[in-house]
Amino acid sequence: MTDARLFPLNAWYAAAWSHEIKHELAARTICNKDMVLYRRSDGQVAVLEDACWHRLLPLSMGHLKGDEVVCGYHGLVFNAAGRCTYMPAQKTINPSACVRAYPVEERHRLVWVWPGDPALANPDTIPDFHWNDGTEWVGEGGTFYSLKCDYRLVIDNLMDLTHETYVHAGSIGDEAITSAPFDVTHTDRTATVTRWMINIEPPPFWAKQLDRPGAHVDRWQIIYFQAPSTVVGDVGVAVTGTGAPQGDRSQGVNGAFLAAITPETDKSCHYFWNFARTFRTDDEQLTRDINKAHVNEGKGVYDQDHVVLEAQQVAIDKNPRLPFYNLNIDAGALWARKLIDTMLEAEHGQVAHAPSEAAE
């Protein structure tokens, strides 16, 4: 763990999709902390520090016995609260023998963990990610585990969609994005980038979803950031002149790209993504197609981002002294970073570390 404070610890971070956590041990690194996750027989998820109290072997290399974790080295047993309940070859248990138990909640089909001070872990502060519930909005996403970049690079990527024009030409990219004005607003925990492109030809992906050949559309991208690291993009198109900018989207199609980005280490992250929609929600083939359009053995739009993000981190590492330069288009990203820095200041009572300032 380095001293550079790149991410607040007092926050909820997605650690897994709910369906991934079964009655077996699963290792994750979240914010430089090694954790082991498992589902207890009552359905609750438990998250423990992934290092035995005794000799530090990862507990994830052990096994479950009932709802307790047996270390794979000397058989020490820890319960879901992290307390040792068995020590070999002695009649008592050392009262200090505990591993850390992390606060954990399941919501919006994800498992959220709180790596910081457990006394501050309030489930009410889990990011609003209801688009992922699989009810009103429908979609099946995935995860880029251990994406090799600082989690904030992903936030930068999503908070400025002009990159679509260049990274995702031919699908969702369009010159109109770069010429349309946008507005950036914020609260103390959220930042929102709003961009409307009025009376344009829909880009290929949206033309197909709308299925109104020849129609011009009003296209919107309303990107909503919740500190420290979730992004929801309310995106879609509606037939021009039907009132979408005024709030009537009935003549359009609406999707939401969802991103819960979890720092793994200082230079890697887990990127939980989904693309949910409110149109043709019963069409399972469409669900599969949209999933594939995002990640498909290197050919999906997120595969394109993946390549850019990792290459960007390599370049940053090779040029550690070079600052970022910022453009007008980076306003959303800069607000996001500022809100992260505010959280860091609240957590540490001091100005956040230089790497973040370098971006401003």
Binding site: N79, T92, P95, P103
Partner: protein, 324 residues
């Protein structure tokens, strides 16, 4: 897992007597202040008979103002740490560690029973405040000798009200552990900090209740026994050594100083690594550890040299100085 503690300098800002023999110390760290969690202690470098030693003291209260607060009881039979602390005046330079925690308070339990005896109130006080802050369901049972020995009781009463119940020895009040444990909600936890007699009674009552062993939490710094702390002689026939363990030194420290090869880790009676075989004793072994079970202590085959002592006589022990 307890986090790594780091040593640094601190300045004693003020002292205040909480009772005739318990004194509160406010220490400002020179380096980074690390907010202590309930149940934490800090280590303080002390001088005992001219040699440096280390004592651990529980942190008192949430310390949100960047000062570490500890309370130290002046013990007539102390090994010397309390004497050193009591001789300090405001402005004194101290060597202190960042907080460590061997006595973590867990959150979200249906109910908590906190049991303190005497100076054991220090971590319990901090836990009670934290639980009150979190809106948890808890009760505090605080036993001490007499009214004048109650430390932090008024401060705690102001914050937790009737959740605090006092038990004064000289008024004949006793905690009925069996009944108190029976009242505790299923899944509730008992936290105990106090003299070894209280701790052992709590362990027995807890075991009798059939509750899960991990829901009884306790802390010991291994400095209290059933008998007064006194000097005693140790004989090791295998090594031809005979040494006196003075009142202000542990048996482990004495043996190490005498050149006996020892292994140890926690030095507070938890891990059992420093235990040696008892050959015979003319006194009574005062087992002050939490490593051996009651049955093992009754068998008297071994003792934890870091904390346990002998009262009213001498002891002959054996070491591991042999090939096999």
């Amino acid at each position: 897992m307890s986090k790594q503690v780091e040593w640094g300098k601190g300045i004693l800002r003020s002292v205040r007597d909480l009772t005739p023999d318990i004194r509160l110390f406010e220490i400002e760290p020179e380096g980074e202040f690390v907010a202590p969690t309930p149940g934490s202690h800090i280590n303080v470098g002390v001088q005992i008979g001219g040699r440096p030693d280390v004592r651990s003291y529980s942190v008192v209260g949430p310390c949100t103002d960047g000062l570490y607060r500890i309370a130290v009881k002046r013990l007539p039979d102390s090994r010397g740490g309390s004497l050193y602390m009591w001789n300090l005046s405001p402005g004194a330079q101290l060597s202190i560690s960042t907080p460590g925690n061997h006595f973590d308070l867990s959150l979200g339990r249906p109910e908590y029973l906190l049991l303190a005896g005497g100076i054991g109130i220090t971590p319990i006080f901090t836990m009670a405040l934290a639980l009150a802050h979190a809106g948890a369901n808890f009760r505090v049972l605080y036993a001490c000798r007499s009214r004048q020995d109650m430390a932090l009781a008024d401060e705690m009463r102001a914050q937790v009200g009737d959740r605090l119940q006092m038990f004064l020895d000289d008024e004949g009040a006793r905690v009925n552990l069996d009944a108190e444990i029976a009242r505790l909600a299923p899944g509730g936890e008992l936290y105990v900090c106090g003299p070894i007699g209280m701790l052992e009674a709590a362990k027995r009552a807890w075991q009798k209740s059939g509750r899960p062993v991990d829901q009884l939490r306790f802390e010991t710094f291994g400095n209290s026994g059933r008998f007064a702390t006194e000097a005693f002689k140790v004989k090791i026939p295998r090594l031809g050594i005979e040494v006196e363990v003075p009142q202000n030194k542990t048996m482990l420290d004495t043996l190490e100083a005498a050149g006996v090869a020892m292994i140890s880790d926690c030095r507070r009676g938890e891990c059992g690594l420093c235990a040696l075989y008892i050959i015979e004793t003319t006194g009574v072994v005062d087992h002050r550890d939490v490593f051996f079970s009651d049955e093992e202590k009754a068998e008297n085959r071994k003792l934890c040299t870091c904390v346990s002592r002998v009262a009213g006589g001498d002891i002959t022990i054996d070491t591991a100085d042999r090939a096999a």
